[in-house]
Amino acid sequence: MSLLSLEGLTVDLPTPRGNLRAVDGVDLALAAGQTLGIVGESGCGKTMLSRAILQLLPKRARVGGRVMFEGQDISKLRPDALRRLRGPALAVVFQDPMTSLNPVLTIGTQLVETLQAHLAVDGREAVRRGVELLAAVGIPAPEQRMGQYPHQLSGGMRQRVAIAIALSCEPRLLIADEPTTALDVTVQAQILDLLARETRRRHMAMILITHDLGVVAGRTDEVAVMYAGRIVERAPTRALFHGPRMPYTEALLAAIPKLDSAPHTRLPTIEGRPPDPTRRMPGCAFAPRCRYAEGDCVVGKPGLGPVDAGHEFACWHPR
């Protein structure tokens, strides 16, 4: 049985310009201990997808489909039951640790309250475990840090604190939503290392959401590519990078500047831009920008079909 499975998940947001379908029928499964990368450009719905899994969508959002976690639909859970799940089962690391940590509470408070909300520990024990966690995520002088406020730490340290909080109750699934986008490249490498190490050590499943194909390449078991609210291709990481079937994935890979190409080589581009998500279109959402598009592409939406060895894609004319 998979740890998490999404079945026909949709998220609709009412906007002044009409209904915005942020997530459009996503099916996805993740086994325990596996790491899944979700890649997509801004506005593709990857953040809404993660918020839907976490049940943290804005109130006005309408959700369809099911979010099955360990066999129960968590979108149907009562608030109490959901609360008990968050922390010990499901945890999250957000993009910007500056905004995801409360600026007026000390790091110690934010760590300890999480421990005390779920584990039967007294104050002293919670503090002891908090210090341990900070040390585990590579924060020097953890005792001192407990009394400090987020703004007194550097960006990388703040993200380590956020990770420590997320790990505090030993979750079975960690959702990391662009965890390194706000950080510098040398710090990004450290944070990605830390996440990889902890998922291995704790046999924890992780969904790593990012816009950067480079981030998922070396650190995930599987990758799903999102475009206009749908998953357009999903495959074991190596298969996806070596043999992308969906033209969007192919184009995305080609558009990245390579470290080994000569200067002043022209980059292959994807002309145009993603469709307006408030407008429903009958065919494949990528068709208007696709080099291989034919008449049938604008008529019907291709479904996500499995080919071999877990490689699935949504395209009428795959590569």
Binding site: L56, P79, R83, N102, Y149, H151, C169
Partner: protein, 316 residues
């Protein structure tokens, strides 16, 4: 923290100096010679000249300011030439009445405003929220003298529940004292709560959309803890400022309310000083009120630093 405090205290000095200068300027540069005011219409030029000399009015203005400032620093704010009372006695006699009025009014305002703001923010856009924001918005357009009249009409003229005017010192009869204060304080509070409520509501709504609230939910904290610990503290910064500033500003409202309800407070003292052209009292009271306001602002800043560690650590 000590450094922060001393820096802020040092910054107060020029402001207070400017406040004294402006007070003095208003009182002395305005038309209307004090000597004429004192002596009345029958003054002869000789009398006036003599009095001007006695009062030091023939000295250069800068010198007069320094003299006055010197007296002020010694605690001598002058003496009314109408009643013979010193400014200090007049103020100490009336200050408690105004303070009681302002504090009770602000407390009622907070008591109404805070719970409503929180309820509105939690269900922003809901029926209760829309009703209360609409009400608050309308209340903002009701000047205090209007609500005073409305309250008097309702509770004193029609229902006869509360006295329309009158003041009983607290020590004489606490019950009567409170009954007398109820209408005036409520009048001011009616204008206060919408301000406080709107400020807290919009800050709270903004805070509730922050990532750290999503994070707090994702950590599985209880809703009560999220609301009271994670959301309220960062949202209350503007509320603290407005509360502080408004306590100072209520003195303006107190002038009207005290004169309508015949309360012997600072506001009445001020307005009487204006009616009778009692410059010394006016100047003294204005100086004290403005100084009080500056000090109140200082306190607000300190509260701010206590609430927000970023300011405490010098990253305003």
């Amino acid at each position: 923290m000590a450094g922060f405090l001393s820096r802020r205290l040092l910054g107060l000095l020029p402001v207070l100096l400017a406040v004294s200068l402006l007070t003095f300027a208003i009182a002395s540069l305005l038309p209307g010679d004090l000597a004429y005011v004192v002596l009345g219409d029958q003054a002869t030029p000789e009398n006036v000249a003599a009095l001007r000399h006695d009062m030091g009015l023939d000295q250069p203005i800068a010198w007069r300011y320094l003299l006055w400032l010197g007296h002020v620093l010694e605690g001598d704010l002058g003496r009314s030439f109408r009643t013979g009372q010193t400014v200090l006695t007049a103020v100490t006699e009336r200050l408690p009445v105004s303070l009681q009025l302002m504090v009770v009014a602000e407390a009622i305002g907070l008591l109404i405003g805070i719970p409503i703001a929180i309820l509105c923010a939690v269900r922003a856009g809901g029926a209760f929220d829309r009703f209360m924001t609409g009400t608050a918005f309308s209340m903002l357009s009701v000047p205090s003298f209007l609500s005073a009249i409305l309250l008097i009409y309702l509770f004193a003229v029609e229902l006869h529940w509360l006295p329309a005017t009158g003041y009983t010192p607290f020590l004489e009869d606490p019950i009567d004292n409170l009954r007398g204060f109820l209408l005036p304080a409520f009048t001011l509070a009616l204008g206060e709560w919408p301000v406080l409520m709107r400020v807290l509501r919009s800050d709270m709504i903004a805070t509730l959309q922050e990532d750290y609230i999503a994070m707090a939910k994702a950590k599985g904290l209880r809703p009560a803890r999220i609301l009271w610990v994670h959301a309220l503290k960062p949202s209350s910064l503007t509320l603290v400022t407005v509360t502080g500033i408004n306590i100072g500003r209520l003195i303006g409202g107190a002038v009207i309310v005290e004169s309508i309800f015949a309360l012997p407070g600072l506001g009445r003292l001020l307005i009487n000083a204006i009616y009778t052209r009692d410059l010394i009292i006016l100047q003294g009271v204005v100086l004290l009120v403005a100084t009080g306001f500056v000090l109140m602002n200082f306190l607000v800043d300190m509260m701010y630093a206590a609430l927000d560690p970023r300011i405490r650590h010098g990253r305003a």
